[in-house]
Subunit: 546 residues, 2 copies
Amino acid sequence: MKIALAQLNYHIGNFESNTKKIIDHIQLAKDSGADLVVFAELAVCGYPPRDYLEFDEFISLCENAAQEIAKHCTEIACIVGLPVKNEILEGKDLFNAAYFIENGKVKSVTKKALLPTYDVFDEYRYFEPATSFKCIDFKGKRIALTICEDLWNINDNPLYVSNPMDELIEEQPDVMINIAASPFSYTHDDERIKVLADNAKKYNLPVFYVNQVGAQTEIIFDGGSLVFDADGVMKAEMKYFEEDLQVFDLTEVEHVRNKYPQPERLTDIEQIHDALILGIRDYFQKSGFTKAVLGLSGGIDSAVVCALACRALGAENVMSVLMPSKFSSDHSVQDALDLVNNIGCMHEIIPIKEVAESFDHILVPAFKGLPFNLAEENIQARIRGIINMAMSNKFGYILLNTSNKSECAVGYGTLYGDMCGAIAVIGDVYKTQVFELAKYINKEREIIPVNTIVKPPSAELRPDQKDSDSLPEYDVLDKILYQHIEKKQGSKAIIEQGFDETLVRKILKMVNIAEFKRYQTPPILRVSPKAFGMGRRMPIVGKHLI
Amino acid sequence: MKIALAQLNYHIGNFESNTKKIIDHIQLAKDSGADLVVFAELAVCGYPPRDYLEFDEFISLCENAAQEIAKHCTEIACIVGLPVKNEILEGKDLFNAAYFIENGKVKSVTKKALLPTYDVFDEYRYFEPATSFKCIDFKGKRIALTICEDLWNINDNPLYVSNPMDELIEEQPDVMINIAASPFSYTHDDERIKVLADNAKKYNLPVFYVNQVGAQTEIIFDGGSLVFDADGVMKAEMKYFEEDLQVFDLTEVEHVRNKYPQPERLTDIEQIHDALILGIRDYFQKSGFTKAVLGLSGGIDSAVVCALACRALGAENVMSVLMPSKFSSDHSVQDALDLVNNIGCMHEIIPIKEVAESFDHILVPAFKGLPFNLAEENIQARIRGIINMAMSNKFGYILLNTSNKSECAVGYGTLYGDMCGAIAVIGDVYKTQVFELAKYINKEREIIPVNTIVKPPSAELRPDQKDSDSLPEYDVLDKILYQHIEKKQGSKAIIEQGFDETLVRKILKMVNIAEFKRYQTPPILRVSPKAFGMGRRMPIVGKHLI
């Protein structure tokens, strides 16, 4: 039996495009001699459809699309994921399911049992877990089909009390197939490979795993679909961050080792780089835009975002706006211009001094002679926000946000100022990682000016300001933030690791207080196991004593 | 046996204040002769603690607080809600639980079975559902203790497959006690009364129900704790939107009808009015601020928010900023000043013409002679946003957002302009309801100028602009939005109700496209069964074909 894995980039709710793509790949798989083609979890509607699932009309559109797909399933069978109604009227309205389609008809429905409801996942919000399981017989082989998380209760994962494979194995299947929508983080590929290999070994069966690829706003799917033999040896690793279709002979997977070519594994920074480019590209493509705008300060954050945007959209589609104030250093403008020259994007220089002065002037009566402080600093950042948005409104450019994860964590940014934007490109990348990204971008030739990389970071909102006036050095800050955010450690545990008590308490308090700002942050492309946004839900007026 | 219900306003994560409040009310209940005092669901830490629950140190702080509370439970027993660890290492880490405390010791732990995971609720994100149930024996009576949602699988609610009371009733209890954190919406009180009465009747037992009161950012708890006799007749309805402690004699509840005084029921608009005032007050109190700022346009939205803020915080704590542009009509400024005079709040007049002109000037080269359009309209709204935030930063005022639910739905507002603010006061109130609120505010004397109420709504961002240039009349718009948002109807179903097809499709498309703006909206005080925010989670780049 020949099995094709179709690793595709879906668009949530775009039934026309998803259905066409699936039908095209059924044909492609058929032409390649496959007996069965496998599409991802919720392929019909894209993942995660969120509260679209609460609309009956949306569920009907999913069903209609699946029926249309079924018509094209002749001389080949197909597995495709979609939400289906729970007809028993007890429990949640829906199941997260997969159709097995053969001879133009839906032959069986497989339902998901383990529903991830943590981090960015909300599956139990919509779906009832399956409680009974059945293999699928096809061409003399018995298939144990599961959906994504269903294979993850292995290695004593304490999250779940049941394990579908322990029931399916009773029917003595010949092969495991798992369809997934497994979001990228730079740590996730290794976990995934281990979980699938462990399943293969535990049940002594080959495993075919197909993932989605592409970004849905902040959530990025990296592809990397996998095949393992029954000994848990990896037989194939499909492309990362790209669509791919590959056909495998089940007999060969069962017996022959290491036949298929495998791409080279990427480093963490390479993965983040590729993921962010896909994230930018899909945000634009799926929302129907082509051109971006961003403010270019001469600093490293906006430089890295500009370089990534140019790679994602083409330099000719990126407008960079230089907005010097009276506090901007000469080298800032020069560093920004050097980047523009290196990279070839569009640019405008719009000095903000005149507008800042007119704000100062009209605020004189209300401000009653009080001294320059944060209010005036923020006015400058917000003037830049207005100019960026004006360029966006006038020309249809989409504004890219350039805040990094470190400043987003401690609230070192101006709401409605530098925190504006449709999508935050490096909001899940710590400042120390931004430096690594810059070096990686410069690997072949200098794109980001060296001076941008080596000079001390500054917001330049008052004379001689440096980030280090308000924050500890980034290498210390990022380590503490990582323990608190990714590792969910409170102050006590972090101090026990040897960090300074006063500093730890100060930083954790800053993280807590900045929650009101983060609530209004643009969606942040998620590349770590714990990004700000839907995956981290904190009270705003809560008092954080941790 | 005398049972005290303590309906209190907790602050998420503020263990010091919550613990003190609980201990004070144990003493108060003791002084009133109660044998048992009952506090709400997750009273120890406040509800909803969200991802604070993922921090071990937070769970330890909950346990420590409960032990401190236990020390004060002598000569009286107490029931108090808190998260507890799941010690069996299978399933989620925690239970949503209640301690029964007697003689200074935790005597038993009751765990919640039905975990709401819809709308604003995320309980299955954190908690494992209970699967076994046991009554509590106390002073010769047997208590069936349940937690909030545990009583809601009645009347064939299809959400859940189990029903804890069906198991507890086997032990022949004498009384039901339910501790809750049941958020307010203007439809919720009637549902709650029906569910509790139906439980009393079904199990032929008296019911004591205690709710939280107070706002936690956007979620408002209205109190209204209840007592029913075994026939399902309401015996007491505690205060709405205020703390309250009442003591009930179980014998009297069993036998005597209608003894306790009940407050008069409020209309929907009265409830919304009181809820918003509580929402504003608690946002400020719990985040440690006292003074508010808002832009006053002369229109009805900002007038209503100003009036509510003055009632919540005192007029002397509210700064209103009038920011006329060259497109502002004379009557707008006069209407705003009339309101200020009627209400006695602070005000500043800061004309924006000069700043708008300097933006026009510095943008000349970049705008390349293109005609006035949305870009320039938005610049004006954003200048006002900057001024409001400058007043906030200079004086420590908190900015109130004045957008209503209708404009929030269709995206008729400027991101980073009039969409700025720390909390959106009327973001869950449709425009037609805003008019009703204005009339209710004016019930005793004219506070909101009549001209503000009767003139046609306008954003005044270009000459002679009216809302009705871009939108249908609000009474039609709001009906369509209500069907789509609250009733989750797609275009097909709404058109079948008799609404114009083109209009319905246009409006639903606007709602979909505005998702990227709503993602960056401040938290919205929730007063309806379906508010924008955590309770409605939509894809941003999703293509909405419904």
